[in-house]
């Protein structure tokens, strides 16, 4: 049984083949990693899963249901949430408002009630705020609730994106380079946070990351992409000893990263 399954997924952008015949499967509760050099097609895989693009060929299913070429705004209803490589916060809004927008999906009141701000709306709004604060506390951002999102330091912006994604109460969380721009210490701290959130929220996680220590620390299963093709998959040990992976991707650079 797999939670997320891609079968022969291909995506062409004009002449560029960003993903070619990629099949991969992530089991429920797993933390899986997606690695590969820049331009390998990792982010495109996330964009295909979340309906930002539709695949040229192949199919994607989640929890037994076909989600190929799904509408992006329907993704969350299936229980999938993501973060973005180039952070996409609602930058002019406060930290709290960023998470409130995610929580809004949960607390329903009609437009008519909203226009006259009925007592029910007021109490729902208080619930929304309280829930959003809980999500901020989880990632340690509660004291920054009233700060504008884009005035947060980079690392905290990434954490805010994670809080916002979690506020959607997903079953599958897609993290696109969550430790990008962090130093080794910060990235290990982030790995610790991901592990805690994974356990607490019963999550399945697929994670793109260049920090190998984060990947090796977290991922039970790793997929290696290169030039849009899946080169290998397996545990950290299997990947580390796979000669093809070592030659094509990790090579000398990999040894350098490991020795840091």
């Amino acid at each position: 049984m797999s939670m997320l399954e891609l079968k022969g997924v291909t995506k062409n952008f004009g002449g560029i083949v960003a993903c070619k015949d990629i099949s991969l499967s992530v089991a429920p509760g797993q933390i899986a990693g997606l690695i590969g050099p820049n331009g390998a097609g990792k982010t495109t895989v996330f964009n295909l899963i979340t309906g930002v693009y539709s695949p040229t060929a192949g199919s994607i299913s989640f929890a037994g249901r076909d989600i190929t070429a799904i509408r992006p705004d329907k993704v969350v209803t299936h229980g999938i949430a993501r973060t973005f490589q180039n952070i996409r916060l609602f930058r002019n809004l406060t930290v709290l408002d960023n998470v409130r927008i995610a929580v809004d999906k949960e607390v329903d009141y009609a437009l008519g009630e909203a226009l006259v701000r009925s007592p029910r709306v007021k109490s729902r709004e208080r619930e929304i705020c309280a829930l959003a604060m809980e999500h901020l506390e989880e990632v340690g951002l509660a004291d920054k609730a009233e700060v504008r999102a884009d005035s947060l330091p980079y690392g905290l912006q990434r954490k805010l994106e994670i809080a916002r994604a979690l506020a959607l109460r997903p079953r599958l969380l897609l993290l696109d380079e969550p430790a990008a721009g962090m130093n080794p210490e910060e990235s290990l701290e982030l790995a610790g946070l991901v592990r805690i959130l994974h356990a607490r929220h019963d999550l399945t996680i697929l994670l793109i990351e260049h920090h190998m220590d984060v990947v090796m620390e977290l991922c039970e299963k790793i997929f290696v992409l290169d030039f849009g093709v899946k080169l290998a998959e397996g545990t950290a040990e299997e990947i580390q000893t796979n000669p093809e992976v070592l030659r094509a991707y990790l090579g000398e650079g990999y040894k350098r990263v490991r020795s840091q």
Binding site: T50, V52, P72, D73, K74, V75, V76, T77, A81, R82, F84, R88, L89, F90, R91, N92, L93, D97, R100, I101, A102, D104, K105, V107, Y109, L111, A114, L115, V116, R117, V121, E125, I128, K144, E146, V147, S151, L152, P153, L156, R164, A165, L168
Partner: protein
């Protein structure tokens, strides 16, 4: 003199109603409309025709004006918003729409073409306009501070991220467009029954530009900012009794000055509230929470 002042206030507030509607659309979805005069005209003509030719009750006529404007908003929004048009394309589409409506008004029998409708019952009074202005401001504020308003802001800020939050772009934009069309229709109905005479030439692209300019100058993402700007744009030239040409020149300079000195608009994202007034008088800094931290 008193009558003159009350006239200027009435005019200003009618424009405020239309501007607040547009502020909810442009300021909170980031899409520019260059054809909102058409919704204003549709409200004016619908309400005006109903009381003029059919002796319909003023309030019912006003409501009909709002309804027809909103409906036309749906019809315009359906093709243009569904296609995920880029914002500049949308602006051009609305420009075309605005002109099309004006040409239609000039050529229909029921609107009496370019001659217009003279002698519409004078029903709109200052108290009525004040009540509607307060009502529209209140509803707009409620909308903006609800999950529906936040969804619109999310779309403006980053529509890819907004979609991942389960927000349907089309729905959000449509909702705001219909709200703004309804407000413009209400303003139009009030206008027709205030000036008692309407003709197509009153609802040109210049009016659309004035409305959009008020929103931009007042601050995208603010309700009170555009309100103040709308009053300034109507009341100041009117009070100075300037010829229409100089009035346009004044707009131009006012706009350029605002864009140079306050590119985020008079109020930026901020709103006027009791707290901000109190803070201002106490000379305390308004910024909350400080900047970067860490």
């Amino acid at each position: 003199m008193l009558e003159y002042v009350s006239g200027i206030i009435t005019f200003s507030l009618i424009y405020v109603i239309a501007t607040v509607g547009l502020a909810v659309f442009t300021g909170f979805t980031g899409l520019f409309s260059l054809g909102h005069a058409a919704f204003f005209a549709i409200g004016a003509y619908t309400a005006g025709i109903l009381t003029y030719f059919y002796d319909v009750n003023f309030w019912a006529a006003l409501a009909a004006g709002v309804a027809v404007s909103s409906l036309v908003g749906v019809l315009i929004g359906y093709p243009t918003l569904r296609a995920k048009l880029r914002s500049d394309y949308f602006a051009i589409a609305t420009l075309g729409f605005g002109e099309a409506v004006r040409v239609l008004l000039e050529n229909l029998d029921i609107t009496q073409g370019a001659r217009g409708l003279p002698g519409i019952a004078s029903e709109t009074t200052l108290p009525i306009v004040i009540v509607f202005t307060v009502l529209v401001l209140w509803v707009a504020r409620n909308f903006v501070h609800s999950r529906y308003g936040r969804a619109a802001i999310a779309v403006r800020e980053d529509f890819v991220a907004a979609e991942m939050m389960g927000i349907n772009l089309f729905q959000v934009r449509m909702r705001s467009l219909v709200f703004s069309a309804g407000c413009a229709g209400l303003a139009g109905g009030l206008f027709a029954h205030y000036v008692s005479f309407i003709q197509p030439g009153m609802f040109t692209a210049a009016l659309s530009t004035q409305l959009t300019a008020s929103v931009v100058a007042g601050g995208m993402g603010s309700i009170t900012g555009p309100t103040v700007a709308a009053v300034l744009f109507v009341a100041v030239p009117e009070a100075l009794r300037m010829a229409s040409m100089w009035r346009l020149v004044a707009y131009g300079f006012l706009l350029v000055a605002i864009m140079v000195f306050r590119p985020q608009g008079l109020f930026g994202f901020r709103e006027i509230s009791w707290q901000s007034c109190v803070r201002c008088f106490r000379k305390k800094p308004a910024a909350a929470g400080g900047g970067a931290g860490q």
